[in-house]
Symmetry: C2
Subunit: 359 residues, 2 copies
């Protein structure tokens, strides 16, 4: 079914796809290469919603060469539906006379799922499915969760000392981890639509909640979500919270209205609102959320088991006082806390990051 | 000065030497191979104080072959002094007609230091020094610290959750980390003469304070040191503390006398006594100490910067309450806590261990 070059060309698709990392939401990351006589005659990727699909870009790049009889590699099943801004890729593939299509993953979008493949086969095209499937699913883990669960992908991130402290008693938290660790955080921010922090973290740290490159230049304005009792906000904060990048999640019984036209959700109870909140954000177009603390917000997501990934950045210091990354006074057995799996531990100069997910 | 086979034969010395790991104190780990025409004709190691040196065992192993004109590889400088239980190795090397000696490290013992080499050279033997020097110093880091500082080598070990907790509020600490992590701790115990715990850890956890193999069989009875207010001991504990493996360090103003003939040190003040304690233990023949907590003891060694290595074992859980691995209420700036370097991070199934030392 697969020949030995298939893997190589699918790897090329992945490396094309990932160039648009962080900019295709709500769409998946897709790369495509067109191959004739074992040579690439065209390549392309999907740059973002409303822009041409990877297959279209690959075929366009090959115009002027003999496309007929070529093989198309694409990490995701080509689309066949018309209820969107771009025409179906299957039609173009058929019209171009492509004889074989190799894909890693079936598109979990119910409008496409297996239907794209079916249409290609009905038109006499040889289709190979499933090579490097696991790698493809990992690349599009956000999109796959979105399609399967209708929920945003949730990543939790904290920076702490070896004794798990995220700040000193006096509130100082800048900086526990190294500049290189913090650059690494921006790589994670890039992948997410929104960054969520608790109201206390917002008030104490005044985080910028955007994605910056290694030269500190803003490369993406993420949606910025503040979670907690919004009556704590001062007029100076209302001034800062002025674009539709901001979303306020007000919890508690007291009423709150923002002087500006900012999206506000209101939930009665902090902890119990998490799943409702994620559902609301999803409907609102937010397909991935990076939760950056503080202690109360982080602990709530851990306790509710409403997370996909956890990244803990550690510095080689002991702080000995101040808030811990996690707090729960009700735990009485160690085994009640199990359920996480270490995915990877990575050294970052004299820091390290532990990547975990649910078992 | 070195030929390309030298490294290979010195590596062989290291792998011989390490077979006696944990059993040579106060002596270093030493391996030796005797080589003629690029072939090993004899090999040996030092098994422990009072037993023959590695060089002697290597030469004895070669008896019956033509030793004259051979090369002796040994990770440490051969001894030349007589104020000990075994005769000087240099005399034997000279008498055997060995023509070249290759060593990694000069012996830091002032009775030997450079004198062994000098004697060999004076007797017409070609001596090469310093190949794989760093690896040799690492192998004998305990012995080197002993000789240079007249202090025991100090290793701190703690097992904790991702939020740095070593137990729950109710005292439960068994088990945070996995069986495989705990086996790893026994590898560390093996290397140390003594294991030290605070009185509270002793009372709560009743640790065995010995070294066991993977089948839980005792392979070494380490010296067992309890540190703190010994008046907390109950009669049942006095019953357990009955061999000369035990050392009690009583701190505080109240008087304490043990009903049995156990070594007791008395210091007025817990934190301020650490350096005095280490000096006393060294004089008493304890060349390496593994400190296994609890919080107060661990924190005191960290704060006094009286440690060589730190091993922190982490399990992928958050406990949310109970004691932290470290406590210090007086830290007011993050930078005041710097000064440790990550040596290595190692995955142990679904746990990991961070090895640190001082910067």
């Amino acid at each position: 079914m697969f020949n030995k070059l298939d893997q190589q060309f699918l790897q090329k698709c992945f490396s094309l796809a990932i160039q648009a990392r962080g900019f295709t939401s709500p769409n998946p990351l897709v790369g495509a290469v067109l191959v004739k006589d074992d040579k690439i005659i065209g390549e392309g990727l999907h740059y973002g919603a409303g822009l041409p699909h990877a297959e279209v870009n690959a075929i366009n790049a090959a115009l002027g060469t003999e496309i007929e009889g070529s093989t198309l590699y694409c990490n995701l099943e080509p689309c066949c539906h018309t209820n969107k801004r771009t025409p179906p890729c299957t039609d173009l593939i058929i019209a171009a006379g492509i004889k074989r299509v190799v894909i890693s993953n079936i598109d979990p979008n119910p409008f496409v799922q297996n239907k794209g493949v079916k249409k290609l086969i009905e038109n006499g095209i040889d289709v190979s499915i499933g090579e490097l499937e696991h790698q493809g699913a990992s690349l599009n883990r956000i999109f796959f969760k979105n399609m399967h669960q209708k929920l945003p992908y949730v990543t939790l991130k904290m920076a702490c000392s070896l004794d798990g402290r995220i700040c000193l008693e006096n509130g100082t938290s800048k900086w526990i981890t190294s500049p290189l660790s913090r650059q690494h955080v921006h790589q994670i921010r890039l992948e997410h639509d929104a960054i969520l922090v608790g109201i206390n973290t917002f008030l104490t740290d005044a985080p910028s909640l955007n994605t910056r490159d290694d030269d500190n230049k803003v490369i993406k304005e993420n949606k910025k979500i503040i979670f907690g009792d919004m009556t704590k906000l001062l007029p100076e904060h209302h001034h800062k919270i002025c674009t539709n990048d901001w979303i306020l999640i007000h919890t508690g019984c007291s009423s709150f209205s923002c002087p500006r036209e900012i999206k506000i959700y209101h939930f009665d109870h902090f902890e119990r609102s998490l799943l409702k909140l994620l559902k609301a954000l999803y409907v609102d177009g937010i397909k991935s959320v990076l939760v950056e603390g503080g202690q109360k917000v982080f602990s709530s997501f851990i306790d509710a088991r409403l997370f996909d990934d956890v990244f803990l950045f550690y510095a080689p210091i002991f702080l000995g006082n101040g808030k811990s990354n996690y707090m729960n006074k009700n735990i009485s057995t160690i085994d009640a806390c199990r359920g996480m799996k270490i995915v990877e531990i990575k050294s970052i100069e004299n820091n390290f990051v532990v990547h975990l997910n649910q078992e």
